[in-house]
Structure formats: structure tokens, C-alpha cells
């Protein structure tokens, strides 16, 4: 393992020290727990939006804490969900008196720890709702959507939830709009090489020189198939075939596209992938309204990318376009 680290067990704390120093205008650390909040949280009279999860997904989650997106984020160890107290304090910090919406990926640890924080918060009289995100088509078959992992589609959900809350939406409205986004979002990922969790020191998987892990998760979870290397266009075509039929996306749909680098795939390849996605959607007469290319939800230094399609309606489109100002995303 070659990494720029000191003691691996201090890495998340050291990262957070640096992150807080760089972004002190936008975010602050909560006391006693490893959670952050936008500097002005709680915003009185606004629904609080909270997320969190393991670290190592740069820029997720903390990079999206700020105006128009997440009010507070609980920060776990690398690829490990944060403990209930961190989640609970994040909820309290986000609570502006209008309730708090927790958005989380569908990982056992996140589900348990956020559930406990929700119980603690409810006992405090804070109105709390949760939406568990499930956009990864590779992680469970159609019909079992609620078993699927939440992956890079989360970026869209955070954006929409934050914008809806900023626009004065009620807790129920914020929850409903995120559920709508989640229900209309599909993602699939592919990897060329693994990542290494510093505390563990060995790669999460091993691939031959001519192999790809198809359907990989962003912690390096095994995908649905180990396939031979293909050209970029063939790879994208295979991924799109799977996503398009799953929802399904059909002629005339308006969509947002996210091409998300998983860590070490150069942007040049991501934009080239977008080009192929666009040409497929053009053929299908599906209209791209919003496009995001870059790193949103990575798996340390994994080489790979994911494609997310999300069917839009006018409200969701306008919420995506609403202003946001966070450390890693501004619009």
C-alpha cells in the first residue's frame, strides 16, 4: 500500500482538521462528536437536511454540506458508518424547528446508526424523517429495489432536498420530493482497479489486466459480473442498456445524467464517457436537461466510474438548478 498517510487510524481526523481549516467560512465542526454543520445551522424555520456515512467517498459527504444542500453531516471512519451520537448531534444541529430529513445510503451500519439517532431525536421532540437511497441497479434485481445500495444518485437527492428545504418546503414535502428523485434514479458502476482501505492495507479486490468489475459498489463491493476489458463505447453501451430498461427511461423523458469518477479515472475519460451516453440518449430521443461530470461519490482511489440517470419533472429540474454553495459544489 502506497499512500500519503501517517497512522491510518488518525487519517479521518487529520483530513477533517484540514477540511475545516480550508472551508471554515462554510462549515464548522460540532462539539464532542465527529460531525459538521454549515456555519449558520440550524437555520430557523427551515427543514434540516442531514446525511452522513463512511469517509473515503470524496467529495461526498462533507463536501456537500452548505447552503442549498446538506445542513449537517455525520462523519464515519473510512467506509464505516458514523456512530449514533454523531448522527444524533448532526440532527440536532440541523434542527431549525421545522423537522429534520435524514438521507442515507442503504448500508446496514448507516441504517442502524441513523435509526438510533432518529429514535434519540424523536425522544427529544424533534420531528425526524428518513429516506433510504437505493439507486444502484447492480445491487439487487428489479422488484427488490429497496434492497439496492445508494450510490452516486445521492448527489442529486442531496441537491434536491436542500433546495426544497431552502425554498420553504415542509418536512413531508422534502421527504416526498427526495423519494420521487430516488424512485426515478438509476446508477451502475464499473471498475478497472480496486482501492485500499488504509487501516487494512490490501486491495478490496484483485482483477486481471484484461478484466473489469462490472456493477461494482463504491466501497469495492463485488459487482454482478467480472468481464473482459472492452472499449469505452461498448462499456457505456452495456451500462446504459441495463439502466434504461430498469426504470425504464423512454422516448421523450427529460433526464439528469451524472458521470461519476470513482477515484482515479481521469476526467478526460469521464467526459469521453458522457459523449457516448449523450449519443445513446440522443438516439433514444431522451433529452438531457442537466449533466454533471466529475467526482461526486468516489471509493478512495478506485479506477472506475458510474453512470446515473434520473428522470426529471419540472419541479425537480428547478430544484437541481437552484443555487447551492458548499465546499465542493457551487451553482
Amino acid at each position: 500500500m502506497k499512500k500519503f498517510i501517517n497512522d491510518p487510524f488518525n487519517l479521518v481526523d487529520e483530513m477533517l482538521d484540514g477540511f475545516l481549516a480550508v472551508h471554515k467560512k462554510k462549515i464548522r465542526k460540532l462539539e464532542d462528536v465527529r460531525s459538521i454543520a454549515r456555519t449558520d445551522a440550524p437555520v430557523a424555520g427551515k427543514v434540516g437536511i442531514v446525511s452522513g456515512g463512511g469517509s473515503g467517498h470524496k467529495p461526498a459527504f462533507i463536501g456537500f454540506c452548505g447552503e442549498g444542500m446538506l445542513d449537517a453531516v455525520a462523519v464515519g471512519e473510512i467506509f464505516t458508518s458514523p456512530p449514533p451520537l454523531a448522527c444524533y448531534e448532526a440532527v440536532k444541529a440541523a434542527n431549525g424547528g421545522k423537522g429534520v430529513l435524514i438521507l442515507l445510503g442503504n448500508y446496514a451500519g448507516d441504517v442502524m446508526n441513523f435509526q438510533m439517532s432518529a429514535d434519540l431525536s424523536a425522544a427529544d421532540g424533534i420531528e425526524v424523517e428518513q429516506v433510504i437511497l437505493t439507486d444502484d441497479v447492480a445491487s439487487a434485481p428489479k422488484g427488490q429495489e429497496n434492497r439496492r445500495r445508494g450510490v452516486s444518485g445521492a448527489f442529486l437527492c442531496w441537491k434536491v432536498a436542500g433546495a426544497k428545504a431552502a425554498a420553504g418546503g415542509s418536512l413531508a414535502e422534502c421527504k416526498e420530493v427526495v423519494e420521487r428523485v430516488n424512485a426515478n434514479t438509476r446508477t451502475i458502476g464499473v471498475a478497472l482497479s480496486p482501492c485500499t482501505v488504509p487501516a487494512k492495507g490490501s486491495p478490496t479486490f484483485v482483477l486481471a489486466d484484461d478484466e473489469m468489475e462490472y456493477g461494482v459498489g463504491h466501497h469495492g463491493e463485488p459487482g454482478t459480473e467480472r468481464i473482459k476489458m472492452m472499449s469505452l463505447d461498448d462499456t457505456v453501451q452495456k451500462m446504459m442498456n441495463e439502466i434504461l430498461v430498469d426504470l425504464p427511461f423512454t422516448k421523450g423523458d427529460n433526464v439528469a445524467v451524472v458521470i461519476n469518477g470513482l477515484g482515479s479515472t481521469p476526467q478526460i475519460e469521464l467526459y469521453a464517457a458522457f459523449r457516448k451516453v449523450k449519443s445513446i440518449l440522443d438516439t433514444e430521443k431522451i433529452n438531457i436537461e442537466n449533466a454533471y461530470v466529475g467526482e461526486f461519490f468516489t471509493g478512495l482511489e478506485m479506477a472506475g466510474f458510474s453512470i446515473t440517470l434520473s428522470k426529471l419533472d419540472p419541479e425537480i429540474k428547478s430544484l437541481l438548478d437552484a443555487p447551492a454553495s458548499t465546499p465542493c459544489y457551487t451553482c
Partner: protein, 212 residues
């Protein structure tokens, strides 16, 4: 062996847990590597290294305080499914022996019943889902049976350990229904569940720690 576990023995139990997890770190990570993300040993070892330090200052306190100290740390520092599940386990164990410097077999049965319920509530797993519940549930059932039959503490703990072990072993032939491993479906058959295994080491430490 006496018919109850003293607070001193409870402290030994915790030390035994810490020692065992340290010893088994690599083995647990390797197991998790087969089906999960391979960090189970590292996570557990890091956690229980810290538990050892946290518990030392309360070594002379009652059993409830000792176990609550473990549970609070595990619950609030570690994170992950393990933090929630083992945190719940130790906090539930603690809650049932608050203030006690001696814990009888009946107490122990009540404590573990509460722990199992806590794990079931938070984890929502069933027996057979290839999780640590497959270790916990038969061990707790054995403890309840021993208590009902007024077995000796020694006999009860030996049966408890054996039931936990069989429970752990049972996960080898199961298909994972929970956690990361569940995405692998049939591919999980033939591998022990990492959580079920670490849980066996913890439960075994109750038997072994008392012997010290």
C-alpha cells in the same frame, strides 16, 4: 467456581474479550474479506484496544458500570453495523445488572435475553440470515434453558460456549441475507460469517474469563 460472577470476574471477561479480538484480528479480517469489505478484524481490534483503556478506571466498579463503559464506547465511537450491534449488546447486558457486584445465572440469562432482543430490534435480522444473531440466539436459548433447569454456572457457561460455537458454525452453510454480504447471494455459502465469528469470540470470553 462460585455460583455467581463477581465484578472482578466481569472485568476479566472484558479483558479476555480484548485479548481474543486482538489475537483473532487477522482471521476476522480474512473472513470478512471473503464476503464483505475485509475490515472486520481491524475495526474490532481498534475498538477493543480502546475498550481496554476505557474499562481500566472502572475495574473495581459494579458489573453494570463495567459493561456500560464497554457499551458506551462501542456504541458511540466505532460506528458501522458493529458499533450499533455490539454497542446495543453491551448496553443491554449492562442495563440488566446495574449496581450488581455479583451476577447469577438467572441474572445472566436475563441480561443476554435483553441483549438478543436489542440486537434483533436494531439489526432486524432473523436467525438463519448469516449474521451474529446466528451465534447469539442459540447461545441465549441455551442460557435460558440452563437457568430454567437450575444448572450450575460452570455447566451453563460450557453449554453457552458450545451453543455459540455451533451457531457460528451454522453460518457456513447459510446464504447471507443482511449486510454487504447479502449482495452476493449463493456465493456466500461455504464461508463463515465474520460477525458471527467475532461474536463467538466475545461470548466464549464470558466462559473463559470466569475461569480465570
Amino acid at each position: 467456581m462460585s455460583e455467581s460472577i463477581s465484578n472482578k470476574q466481569m472485568y476479566h471477561i472484558v479483558e479476555t474479550i480484548c485479548d481474543t479480538i486482538e489475537e483473532q484480528q487477522q482471521y476476522l479480517s480474512d473472513l470478512d474479506g471473503e464476503l464483505g469489505d475485509g475490515d472486520h478484524g481491524v475495526n474490532m481490534a481498534k475498538c477493543f484496544r480502546e475498550v481496554r483503556k476505557k474499562v481500566e478506571p472502572v475495574a473495581d466498579k459494579d458489573c453494570g458500570t463495567i459493561l456500560k463503559t464497554v457499551g458506551m464506547y462501542v456504541m458511540n465511537s466505532v460506528g458501522g453495523a458493529m458499533g450499533a450491534l455490539y454497542g446495543t449488546m453491551f448496553l443491554k447486558l449492562a442495563a440488566e445488572c446495574t449496581g450488581k457486584t455479583e451476577v447469577t445465572l438467572d441474572d445472566l440469562a436475563r441480561m443476554f435475553t435483553a441483549a438478543e432482543n436489542g440486537i434483533r430490534t436494531i439489526g432486524k435480522a432473523q436467525v438463519g440470515d448469516k449474521t451474529l444473531l446466528d451465534t447469539v440466539a442459540p447461545a441465549v436459548a441455551s442460557l435460558q434453558k440452563s437457568a430454567a433447569e437450575h444448572k450450575s454456572l460452570t455447566e451453563a457457561l460450557a453449554a453457552f460456549e458450545m451453543a455459540a460455537k455451533n451457531g457460528m458454525e451454522s453460518t457456513r452453510d447459510l446464504i447471507a441475507k443482511m449486510g454487504r454480504a447479502s449482495r452476493l447471494g449463493e456465493r456466500t455459502i461455504g464461508h463463515l460469517d465474520a460477525g458471527a465469528t467475532s461474536c463467538y469470540f466475545i461470548l466464549r470470553s464470558f466462559a473463559h474469563g470466569v475461569e480465570k
